[in-house]
């Protein structure tokens, strides 16, 4: 029985929209699910820009290969090389495409695309629209999606929450179960392929730079249903954010890319050593130049063309620089804060940063054009996420722990040409998880950024996943629809999952009236955020992670007594949040386990009780596998193949 192919895309951020557009363009119908109207997805928050080796950058001496190399170097070589290679070489074409879609990129006086400096590179290779690049890129893709929606090729399900993937007895993904967040209806949807593009998991840390829906709940549900995670311990802490009660608001790397400097008050002795300044109460504008300790410039003076470029080292490195300075007592006013200073920049540069300067001004009441901003590192990005594979022509083939890629895949179409170093275009296996028919795109995909993501590479990887790997999804769905369509799967397979999810909701709702004291989900979430922030961010130790693990495990017990405050039958946000909290706890447990087992320091996984990077043992992906029957996790190590660039030790202190 053949049927019309259908693809479900869960998530309407950059990755989800790019996927929807690409799959629809290939002629396959798309059902697009999102908890929020797609135009309000978290991708709107991205500020700084998107990297690519476009022609003018090339003429300044940069190349796609350099972009590829820099991304691996920044990621401390935990990235998968063929996908990163492919992404770097696709990047200039993606910029052109976004430009054609009408994204209002900043322009040079002559009318060409402008660029700015960004972290982890000494080249000006970051394209941008003011300081709201993510918003503008998302809108560009939102518009193209709307076009396909108007043509009937994309159907949107906004305010629908993905609850569970429908995986049949043969382990093939056949669709999803989702809930209408307004009417609370729970329903199954069939599809010949499902793309998860659900973004990051910052909310596990309570407060982060992410939007309130970035719980990682969707990824965790896939994990519990049998999909694996790769390197979930790899969480990026961004060097510069405004700490807040409800959220840490990012002050983009573009501030430093445009010449902003990080400093703390201090006194320099005759040997050039800095000590904290005794008077902690001074207004920053009263502090003389010689009492400003430019932490990153002093630590990394030779990284770029000028010492000021030291402000643009890889994020994990910059974060540690600021964090340790504050720990040594250099913090502004003696507290946990440093200055990010753009006051010296010319007016037109400040104008380019208007979008973020306005955020600072609105939320703190101070005008950063006149007074240095007070910032501190904050949880920002998940490099880890759902595990995924890909197809390559390279020999030897990467050995994956799962056998989803057939043995004979990757045969060269054109044997007269050398093997292509990247991924095979249109391959159905590109970014498929270990569950057949289930894909992971965007921030939820673990493949691209290794142990640290370079600034302005995320937007690129999200759009690249959608556009490049989207074709493979359409191809896979078409084959499935012909040979083994979801339409042919028994209803019982779907109703089973609907029953499972309905029971879960009913059970939570039933707690509202119960006489028992119960556990407050918001309070439990706050405590989870605290312990994760304490033990799995900038500095990690075995002892700390073990402590966090046992606490998180006790929270998993507490969660069994969680009690809701709302039994409303409409828009019950209490239910949605509490359900996600249960999933966050399980995800947090996996993060800690992977962190504990990775006994080395690599990228953001800096362990003060380990001696540096250990390639012998850990040039590997920590693959987490969950056993729902026992509620236990297993971490299995899979070699990260090294087909193109040998890992080398990272060092930002000298010219690269």
């Amino acid at each position: 029985m053949a049927s019309e192919p259908r693809v479900i895309v869960v998530g309407g951020g950059l990755a989800g929209l790019a996927a929807a557009v690409r799959v629809a363009e290939a002629g396959v119908a798309v059902d697009l699910f999102s908890m929020v109207p797609v135009k309000r997805s978290h991708s709107v928050c991205a500020q700084g820009g998107i990297n690519a080796c476009t022609e003018p950058v090339r003429q300044e001496g940069f190349s796609e290969w350099d972009h590829f190399d820099e991304t691996l170097y920044g990621g401390d070589f935990l990235n998968h090389q063929p996908p990163v290679y492919e992404m770097a070489y696709a990047a200039p074409k993606i910029i052109d495409l976004l430009d054609r879609m009408g994204v209002p990129f900043n322009r040079t006086p002559e009318g060409f695309l402008d660029r700015r400096y960004f972290g982890g590179s000494v080249f000006r290779r970051t394209h941008y629209t003011g300081a709201s690049t993510g918003q503008q890129l998302l809108y560009g893709l939102d518009e193209q999606t709307r076009r396909y929606e108007a043509e009937g090729k994309v159907t949107k399900y906004e305010f629908w929450e993905f609850l569970w993937p429908v995986v049949d007895d043969d382990g093939v993904c056949r669709g999803i179960v989702a809930q209408d967040m307004r009417t609370m209806e729970v329903k199954a949807f069939r599809a010949d392929a499902v793309v998860m593009a659900t973004g990051g998991c910052g909310l596990i840390y309570g407060k982060s730079t992410m939007s309130v829906i970035c719980t990682g709940g969707a990824a965790s549900r896939c994990y519990q249903a049998g999909a694996w995670l790769g390197n979930p311990e790899m969480i990026q802490v961004h060097p510069t954010a405004i700490p807040g009660e409800d959220k840490c608001r990012l002050m983009s790397e573009s501030a430093r890319g445009e010449g902003g400097r990080v400093w703390v008050p201090g006194i320099k002795d005759d040997n050039g050593e800095w000590t904290p300044h005794p008077d902690a109460g001074r207004h920053p504008n009263e502090i003389p130049e010689h009492e400003r300790y430019y932490v990153l410039e002093e630590m990394y003076p030779n990284y770029g063309p000028t010492p000021r470029h030291g402000n643009l080292v890889s994020r994990d490195v910059a974060t540690r620089g600021i964090f340790f300075a504050v720990q040594k007592g250099f913090g502004v006013g003696g507290g946990r804060m440093a200055y990010l200073d753009i006051t010296h920049l010319p007016q037109d540069t400040k104008d380019k940063l208007a979008a973020i300067l306005e955020i600072y001004e609105k939320f703190t009441g101070d005008d950063p054009r006149d007074v240095p901003m007070k910032i501190f590192p904050a949880v920002h990005y998940s490099m880890g996420g759902l595990y995924a594979v890909y197809e390559t022509e390279q020999e030897p083939k990467p050995k994956f722990l799962c056998d989803i890629v057939p043995e004979d895949a990757g045969r060269r179409k054109d044997p007269s040409k050398p093997a292509h170093p990247g991924m095979v275009h249109g391959s159905p296996w590109n970014m498929m998880t270990n569950v057949k028919g289930l894909y992971a795109f965007g921030e939820v995909n673990f493949s691209y950024h290794g142990a640290t993501r370079l600034g302005a590479n995320a937007l690129l990887s999200c759009i690249f996943d959608g556009l490049f790997c989207g074709l493979g999804v359409a191809n896979f769905a078409r084959t499935q629809a012909k040979e083994d369509p979801s339409e042919g799967v028994a209803d019982e397979v779907f109703s089973r999952y609907v029953a499972q999810e309905t029971a879960k909701s009913d059970k939570l709702i039933a707690t509202v009236g119960s006489a028992e004291e119960g556990v407050d989900p918001y309070e439990l979430h706050r405590k989870l955020g605290e312990i994760m922030t304490d033990e799995l961010t900038v500095v990690r130790t075995q002892e700390g992670m073990q402590r966090a693990l046992s606490i998180v495990r006790s929270f998993i017990e507490d969660y069994k007594r969680v009690k809701l405050g709302d039994n409303g039958v409409w828009t019950n946000q209490n239910l949605s949040f509490t359900r996600a909290l249960g999933d966050m706890l399980i995800y947090a447990e996996a993060m800690l386990l992977a962190g504990i087992e990775r006994k080395e320091s690599r990228g953001c996984h800096y362990c003060s009780d380990q001696d540096g990077r250990d390639d012998e043992k850990y040039q590997k992906t920590g693959v987490c596998q969950y056993d729902p029957a026992t509620g236990t996790h297993k971490v299995v190590w899979e070699d990260v193949p090294i087909p193109l660039i040998e890992p080398r030790i990272r060092d930002y202190s000298g010219k690269k």
Binding site: D96, L97, M101, P104, R146, R147, K247, T364, W570
Partner: protein, 260 residues
Amino acid sequence: MIAANKPEQFTVRIKRQDGRDQPSYWQSFTVPYTANQNIITVLQQVAANPVTTDGKRVAPVAWDCGCLEEVCGACTMVINGRVRQSCSCLVDELFTGTHDQVITIEPMSKFPVVRDLFVDRQRMFENLKKIKGWVPIDSTAALGPGPKETPDEQHERYAISRCMTCGCCLEACPQFTKDNDFVGAQVIAQALYFNEHPTGAELKGERLDVLMGPGGVTDCGNAQNCVKVCPKEIPLTEAIAKVGRQLTVHAVKRFFAGKR
């Protein structure tokens, strides 16, 4: 530290509604004052302890939010009578000195309420579809760069493209009501945004056709309320005037083409 003129606690009056087409009612909550509080943190405090000022435990308030930094547009509400984003609305700003301040929070009145402060703004997205709010590219294939643009042109388009579909301009507009079909300032400005792009201009005629009919630009009474409340300072009235001029030209062209 609580400043001298700041209360230790204050009252928030919230307009509630249990579901679509249900009656609305008011409830008051007492909330402790904290430094740098915004309306989202106030709502979180209410959610953490949903007990009314007269001691009744009630269902937590539903509201919409996302980015918490005024870029997603989700959290728009009417606060002390003014439509704005609740995430960027600082409590300190609302307190002007006296001790018995009350903050009132209502859902936007021009859109159907889903529950409490949560409204359904689907109409705005539908209108974007109506005016064909996109640049009709051939395909996603690599076909080279887009058209060149001067920095001035970019500035002009960027100013409009920051619209986050929040609906403030529609809430404030006297001509836009729940039941009429006026499209409002947001979508007229968006039409201009696409008309001004060289490839986007391909659909200019179709866009103007939509804006020429009932519910289009002529329904605007030029009250200028929209531009005053737009959080992204989008030059809305200027955009409406420009589209008005485009419409005049369009109407003349249509007249001569005999398409009346």
